[in-house]
């Protein structure tokens, strides 16, 4: 089904409005919040990419950190170990995640449901162990420390505001691409697979190939997020590749609403703020986050975006 024109009109306006607001943020926000928003943007991209699988293809992957982490490590090693320009390191690292997603995807697509989730988890654990044990290359448990923010092409991105603008630009472009993919015929097929994969197969579509495509797309953009994250934190540690980190984008998607493109973004905003604020009072912030997630799943199964859109719809119905 071709996308209806009115579906495209609003997002384009929203895209430019948020672009302008985000661009201007450093003018009125203190540096500390610029760091927070940078993190929210990166986490959003990671969550939205994971949600291409979870919400739009119906695949539960516990291994998305493999792509985020491999690209974060690749970009760090390339920045610190070679004299390549940052842009080259960046795209090379994203390419590595794409390749990794293609290879892992080829294995995992044979399986479904629970078995698929466990196999993705196993693959990501392989990445974790390699990074943890290969001390001479990856620094082992200490990780790679002091990753500089080298210029991207002609742009100096050193400094909180400059790097924020860089991240904002890359994340916005990536989100726009992901949005277009979800709205394209490919995206429509993915959603059909999510809703009823057997029926889609009967239509003569190669479900496995479409799922693989979705897996590679998610891995690639997860890799973009990872490559942005490493210079932002200035440090990468094996913790990034730990399986528990894979749960983060899943929880964010659930929180925000996994059937909505913008759901994970809303989830990421709340997730990062909770993490930042509650850790100020207690180290058991996960307890409070877990409680919030439980309440949301019990009372707002559609996540935050589900709740919002329900209310908007109701409002429209009333006015009619």
């Amino acid at each position: 089904m071709p996308p209806k024109p009115q579906n495209f009109k609003n997002p384009i306006i929203w895209f430019f409005v948020s672009l302008v607001v985000l661009w201007a943020a450093p003018l009125f926000l203190p540096t500390f919040y610029i760091y927070l928003i940078t993190e929210i943007l990166i986490v959003s991209l990671f969550a939205v990419s994971t949600n291409v699988l979870l919400g739009f293809t119906g695949l539960l992957s516990f291994g998305q950190v493999a792509f985020f982490g491999s690209s974060a490590y690749a970009v760090s090693l390339l920045i610190k170990g070679t004299s390549l320009p940052f842009a080259a390191s960046f795209f090379l690292s994203v390419g590595i995640s794409t390749l990794a997603a293609l290879i892992i995807g080829l294995f995992c697509m044979r399986l479904r449901g629970f078995y698929f989730a466990i196999l993705t988890l196993a693959f990501s654990q392989i990445f974790f162990v390699v990074v943890y044990k290969w001390t001479s290359l990856t620094g082992g448990d200490d990780g790679i420390v002091g990753i500089p923010k080298k210029p991207f092409l002609f742009f100096d991105i050193n400094g909180a505001d400059a790097y924020y603008h860089f991240v904002m630009f890359v994340v916005m472009v990536s989100l726009a691409l992901l949005y277009l993919i979800i709205r394209s015929p490919l995206g429509e097929v993915l959603q059909a697979i999510r809703d009823n994969s057997e029926r889609t197969e009967f239509l003569g579509l190669q479900v496995r190939n479409y799922r693989l495509a979705s897996f590679v797309i998610a891995g690639t953009f997860g890799g973009v997020a990872g490559a942005l994250f490493a210079p932002f934190q200035g440090i990468v540690t094996p913790e990034l590749l730990h399986w528990s980190h894979s749960a983060e984008p899943l929880m964010i998607s659930l929180l925000g609403g996994m059937y909505f493109f913008f759901g994970p973004i809303a989830g990421a905003v709340i997730f990062v703020f909770i993490k930042e604020w509650i850790t100020g009072f207690t180290e058991y912030w996960m307890f409070w986050y877990g409680l919030l997630l439980m309440l949301l799943i019990m009372y707002l199964p559609g996540g935050i975006m589900g709740f919002v859109s329900e209310h908007l719809k109701r409002g429209k119905d009333d006015s009619r």
Binding site: D141, G234, I235, T237, E283
Partner: protein
């Protein structure tokens, strides 16, 4: 005589202007005074959650005692000292976030702390980026090595000092043991410790055979595979740099194997006394090293530190890091007063070459590489003393090496200090 009537308008004028003056007095003028009396903020990062909390919590307490002493005596140059304490969860990524928060949101003037060198070293690039002084209470030699920075200090004993002193102590006390093995945590501190222990043996021209080297993950739960491998290697002496929670786990799991009967000497280069307190009567007679040991020195400041700790928190200040955090606060206070300002560059200059006394003895900050050098490095062998509910060093076994003697010579550090 007509009585002068005060009109409503005049009344409003007088009261209004009075209110304005009063308002200015309460909000305006004292604000200026308050700016001068604004507290000086020290940010602190230590581990207060997880199995390493037994080292981090005393770190926070040590700093709080220093804060109390300083504030009761009138603060620093008339300004109050305020501590902003954050938990780094022994994770470098969390440490980096918290460091950034301390500087950007809490707007602290100085940062100190960390239990793990993994966390502390991850914070070094941030100290450079924000141009903030960072005093490490963790032990890596890398703070003061080839990547040394004008903003970074290490307050006390380094890994090389503690590990080489352990080797010297073994050469002096257990010269007959030739077969050595190591069990160390698999991160920067464990690897450095093991290398320097072997180096210490070489420096004393003591010929030994290394029969087993093993590295266990930080926070390891199951040491049995390592214990059996160590026993199979027929090592006579075992060196370890496992600390606190890890060391307690190791000892508890090794005891049923008869490990401490089969191995003639077991020597640990850090946090030994905190381990002894943690193990209580399950302790074993091993050789230990701790950066701070409360019963060694009978000085006024040590007595005060111990008594304040007991009064405020109960128990003994067993953790090394507690005393190191205390020392960091004292060093910063003295340097600020010496510089007469909190200006970073001037405080750096004042810290360089600073000599001061803390509970663990006299400390000196070597100006060329910002390495804190203690009066002595102390080891001892634990024994049961009915006076205490935990094991203590047998005073007959005290083994000391002067800090200046064991500190890495400047020619070997590789540090070329830049200007701030």
């Amino acid at each position: 005589m007509a009585k002068k009537q005060i009109t409503r308008r005049e009344f409003v004028k007088v009261v209004g202007s009075g209110a304005l003056v009063a308002g200015a007095a309460t909000f305006g003028v004292p604000t200026l005074l308050r700016a001068a009396n604004k507290p000086i903020k020290f940010g602190q990062l230590n581990t207060t959650s997880g199995i390493m909390a037994s080292q981090g919590v005393p770190g926070m307490r040590g700093a709080q005692i220093a804060q109390d002493i300083i504030n009761q005596a009138g603060g620093i140059m008339g300004r109050k000292l305020e501590l902003v304490q954050e938990d780094d969860q022994v994770k470098p990524s969390v440490g980096v976030r918290k460091f950034r928060k301390l500087v950007l949101e809490d707007k602290v003037d100085f940062v100190f702390g960390t239990n793990s060198s993994g966390v502390g070293l991850a914070c070094v690039p941030l100290a450079n980026e924000f141009k903030k002084i960072f005093i490490s209470t963790s032990m890596s030699d890398k703070y003061t090595g080839a990547n040394c920075s004008p903003y970074v200090f290490r307050i006390g004993e380094s890994t090389s000092m503690a590990s080489k002193a352990s080797a010297y102590c073994m050469v002096a006390n257990e010269p007959g043991i030739k077969k050595w093995a190591g069990i160390n945590p698999d991160y920067v501190f464990g690897h450095e410790s093991w290398d320097f222990f072997k180096k210490g043996m070489q420096e004393k021209k003591h010929q030994v055979q290394i029969v087993k080297e093993s590295f266990s993950p930080f926070g390891c739960q199951d040491y049995k595979p390592y214990i059996t491998a160590l026993l199979e290697s027929k090592a006579e002496g075992v060196f370890t740099s496992l600390w606190t929670g890890d060391l307690i786990n190791f000892i508890k799991q090794a005891k049923p194997f008869g490990f401490f009967d089969k191995v003639k000497a077991f020597v640990n280069n850090t946090t030994s006394f905190a381990t002894a307190i943690g193990l209580g009567n399950e302790m074993v007679p091993f050789w230990g090293e701790a950066r701070y040991y409360p019963f060694y020195r009978d000085t006024e400041i040590n007595r005060k530190y111990v008594s304040m700790y007991q009064k405020k928190f109960g128990g003994y200040p067993g953790a090394d890091v507690g005393a190191e955090c205390f020392a960091s606060v004292v060093a910063l206070k003295l340097a600020i007063e010496k510089a007469g300002t909190t200006d970073t560059a001037k405080v750096i200059a004042a810290l360089e070459g600073l000599e001061f006394e803390v509970p663990e003895g006299k400390k000196w900050i070597r100006p060329e590489d910002h390495s804190g050098i203690d009066e002595v490095v102390l080891l001892g062998k634990f024994h049961h003393d009915p006076k205490y509910p935990f094991w203590v060093y047998d005073p007959k076994t005290y083994f000391t090496v002067p800090g200046k003697e064991i500190a890495m010579p400047l020619s070997q550090t590789g540090c070329k200090m830049a200007k701030p």
